[in-house]
Symmetry: C2
Subunit: 560 residues, 2 copies
């Protein structure tokens, strides 16, 4: 489907014409046309699935949309929360149906199958129309995944007051397609553990974010059950209750897929692996060595002895064993923050290097080649952190995707080497920054990536900064990330939401429907809408401002 | 009661002798002696209240202690969570009873009555002994309030593993008395609203914190029902559901009192009052004037026209009407961040000043004298923010208590003027700092009081810094504070806990039992204990560190 482009009045609509709080989509669609007619939703409203061979997860998506339509009960963010809308609603036409269909050339695959196709081959676009006269609304797409995205938008169109669900801006015509194929959220479940239910709730909230980057293990704990290596979780998880079993992982992957989300798992290697020593002490160098700060960025010290052939083989086998059960086309092997001091006095490593006349760099090259080959053999494209490209001289497949994290300034250097990148810069997208230092005996310690990244700071990120036009296609998208040294289920919702929605708009919308750049002032009322709708759905997002401000768009702007 | 001082081995105990995680009281008592005998708690354990005429809230306190003893089920923070303790428990004596009694001269008043007595006249001290042979433990105090504090300590002494509740450090002898009479937590319920249930949960968690400083109204909303002025909440609350009714307030005050907590209410005047204009437009200057930044520290602008006699009378009447129904001996009239620009072009104010030949300062003096007199007539001691003393030349009763907030450096100047102070410095105790800017259209805006105040930074606060010894008695204590521009029920627990416990130890313990100064390295394992115990009680405190660190005291210290 080549979505037709609506232009005309939409530029004005998104910019200034509508009263505040009547159009609050997040992310803002590619094109939209709206009118000024009130339309109420029938209490007999139904979703008419005109999709031949519709998969079960499409029906689940429809049931979810029906649930939100009935239960969001979300009052417009204006003083009175919609009390002044009632007059317009008295004689308003009633909307009874949304008809879902695929374009003629499309076949109906499960959403979960569409969601894990290689980046660039997924079809997330859709067209949505809502007539002003109460006749059936329509949602069409090239794939069930596109229909899922369209349902997400549909649910954001309606407000509630005194028993009536309605919109004030019919007719509505939307076409929508993402600017970038990768829009992620990363969660570290190793520094502190999150129950499965917390992950599921997060997946529900990740509308438009299509990748759950699961940093599942680290030096502090190994909460992943691996069939071939059961000891890793038995000895490395914080407790038997704090393990993601094989069936937990399958459930999470399926749950994510049904929501259009690809689960990108990361087993970080060869650093960030200290706890493996609890099972395979011979595989880990500088284990729990002190002072830890000499050997690692955070305690405990300990990294894979990647120069040893048995460690190379173990790691390749471990990664393949985990990856083969995952439907994603991608798998991350990490590669960040490798500390060379850890190996300087490590006897097994030095013995191996000396006896074979190999450098540490060459050994890392071999380790990476072998472990990546094992993943490629399982049909996975490897993903690595930026140091693998910028700090080491190793050979990586051109297909390898590189995550830029240390600084947004590093993107250009990675792209210069010809790799595709995911933008995950700490100076914009790290949700954990600003919480102060957490190591002990350091009372004046600040967060290493101070300050706190507000939604609006994140929102000003330019995915293409410092790149040439020819390099733009190497930017796959980006993600916001929560590292969990100071987080856990207790603060998951408030530290993530609604901030993690910022990147979703950067990488879905890319620009305003007018073609103008994204703008924090235009965006804030819409993000407030998303935030308060999340509350209606049982999430616990932080307040961005006093409620007084949320009801009065722009009144709390610095310049107001 | 003059608590006998245990010394002897306690210095060693608190410092280094005991294995980590066997003594984790917070705050640390004044004196303590511990042994090395294991003692299990009988499943028939009971609290034996030997208090003549024991008030109902003492029985409630005992029921709460019984509940925590049975339901904390808190495993020691060591690797294995107590699995290695089971050997010691097999033949351990069993503790069956804690006998509560008052010293002979004491009379049994309700805890809630003791909790609201004037500062300096409350008796919070207690003595607690737990023999090693299983004979009855004893808790004695001069008042039911002291018994309540002792129960709080008692509940922190026990761990749980595999069905057994136990301690490893009998015999235990503790005497305890607070270093400072005022230990507070302040919550702003006006920028964003908190349901009553959130406040009750917070009160439950405030062990040792004896003042709930309730900043209940502000410019953005007026969520307090006032009998004489019902319009203030009707027009000024965010919604009819977001009001603290008179019965809500009474319930909260009683609930707090039964937990040994005094509710210090604040109606901030004459600034921070914009929303009063929704009911009394003539009483507010520069209402919603733009640019707001010219007239107020945050939107919306608007302050009481304190020069007008009718506003003086209204405010005095309002404060008295609220105060008269509260049992506390104190009431805060605020007085911070008064913006003079608001009055420069305010016709009613200028007319009044000109026609009476009065200065703005003199008018503020009259306003303060009259409003404070109204409170004093209701038996309340007024409390004000530091600007009333440092920025204005007004006459205040010597009894007035001044809260230092702008900077810890300001304490000396306030004390110099002879006032008693409460330490509430933003640079140590503001829990909201570090969350980034929240005004719109300011993407790079930081928190005005960056960085985030970690528990350990707060913990290094010295209440007596820059004061002469003769001035020490003017320091009543201190409090940590949550201003709610970016907070609400969604993040209340994680933004407050366990950080707000830092000041509780500063102002309760003041020093280690050894007499050594408080020390973050010694404190961290105990605070971790408190944090994880809070989780067992259903709170949602942030993680201070990865769980790996929590199980290994000091292993994650900077210097480890």
């Amino acid at each position: 489907m080549a979505p037709s482009r609506y232009v005309g009045i939409l530029a004005l609509v998104a910019g200034c014409l509508l009263p505040p709080g009547v159009l609050a989509l997040w992310p803002i669609p590619t094109t939209l046309e709206t009118g000024t007619t009130a339309l109420t939703v029938s209490s007999f409203f139904y979703f008419d699935v005109q999709v031949e061979g519709a998969p079960e997860d499409l029906y689940e998506a429809v049931a979810q949309a029906q649930y939100y339509l009935a239960n969001d009960k979300f009052g417009r963010l204006v003083v009175g929360r919609g009390a002044n809308d009632t007059t317009a609603l008295v004689s308003a036409p009633t909307l009874s149906t949304l008809t879902l269909s695929l374009t003629s050339s499309a076949t109906a695959e499960p959403i979960a199958s569409e969601a894990v196709k290689p980046l660039g081959t997924r079809s997330e676009e859709y067209a949505l129309t809502i007539p002003a006269d109460g006749s059936a609304a329509t949602l069409t797409a090239n794939s069930t995944l596109g229909l899922y995205r369209g349902l997400t938008t549909f649910n954001q169109l309606f407000y509630y007051y005194a028993g009536v669900t309605y919109t004030l801006i019919a007719p509505i015509a939307i076409t929508d397609t993402p600017a970038y194929p990768f829009r992620g959220f990363a969660l570290d479940t190793a520094r502190n553990y999150y129950p499965v239910s917390d992950i599921l709730r997060t997946l529900d909230a990740m509308s438009w974010i299509n990748t759950f980057h699961w940093h599942i293990t680290d030096s502090q704990s190994f909460p992943l059950e691996v069939a071939q290596y059961p000891g890793l979780a038995i000895n490395g998880a914080y407790s038997p209750q704090e393990v993601y079993t094989a069936s937990d992982v399958q459930y999470i992957v399926q749950y994510a897929g049904a929501r259009g989300i690809d689960v990108l798992m990361e087993i970080d290697t060869p650093g960030h692996t200290s706890i493996i020593a609890a099972t395979y002490p011979d595989y880990i160098a500088c284990f729990d060595e002190t002072p830890w700060a000499t050997y690692a960025n955070e305690p405990p010290a300990g990294q894979l002895r990647f120069a040893l052939p048995e460690v190379v083989n173990f790691t390749a086998s471990l990664l393949a064993d985990v990856a083969k059960n995952l439907p994603s086309s991608y798998f991350s092997t990490g590669g960040d923050e490798l500390n060379t001091e850890c190996y300087t006095n490590d006897y097994p490593t030095q013995l191996q290097l000396n006896s074979t006349g190999t450098t540490l760099n060459d050994a890392l090259n071999t380790f990476t080649e072998v472990t990546h080959a094992a993943l490629i053999a399982e049909g996975k494209t490897p993903i690595v952190w930026e140091e693998m490209v910028l700090d080491w001289n190793i050979t990586l497949s051109n297909e390898t995707i590189v995550m830029v994290w240390i600084s947004s300034a590093d993107a250009a250097a990675v792209v210069e080497k010809g790799f595709r990148i995911v933008q995950a810069p700490s100076n914009y997208f790290y949700l954990d920054c600003g919480a102060g230092g957490w190591v002990g005996a350091d009372p004046s310690g600040d967060s290493w990536c101070d300050p706190f990244k507000t939604w609006s700071e994140a929102y000003t990120f330019d995915p293409l900064a410092n790149l040439t036009e020819a390099q733009y296609e190497l930017v796959l998208g980006g993600e916001q990330l929560l590292w969990s040294e100071q987080s856990g289920p207790q603060n998951l919702d408030p530290i993530v939401w609604p901030r993690a929605a910022s990147s979703a708009e950067i990488f879905w919308s890319g620009q305003q429907p007018t073609g103008a750049p994204l703008n924090v002032t235009e965006a804030l009322p819409r993000l407030q809408d998303l935030r308060y709708r999340m509350v209606q759905r049982g999430l616990k997002p932080i307040h961005l401002q006093p409620y007084w401000c949320a009801l009065r768009p722009d009144a709390c702007d610095l310049t107001a």
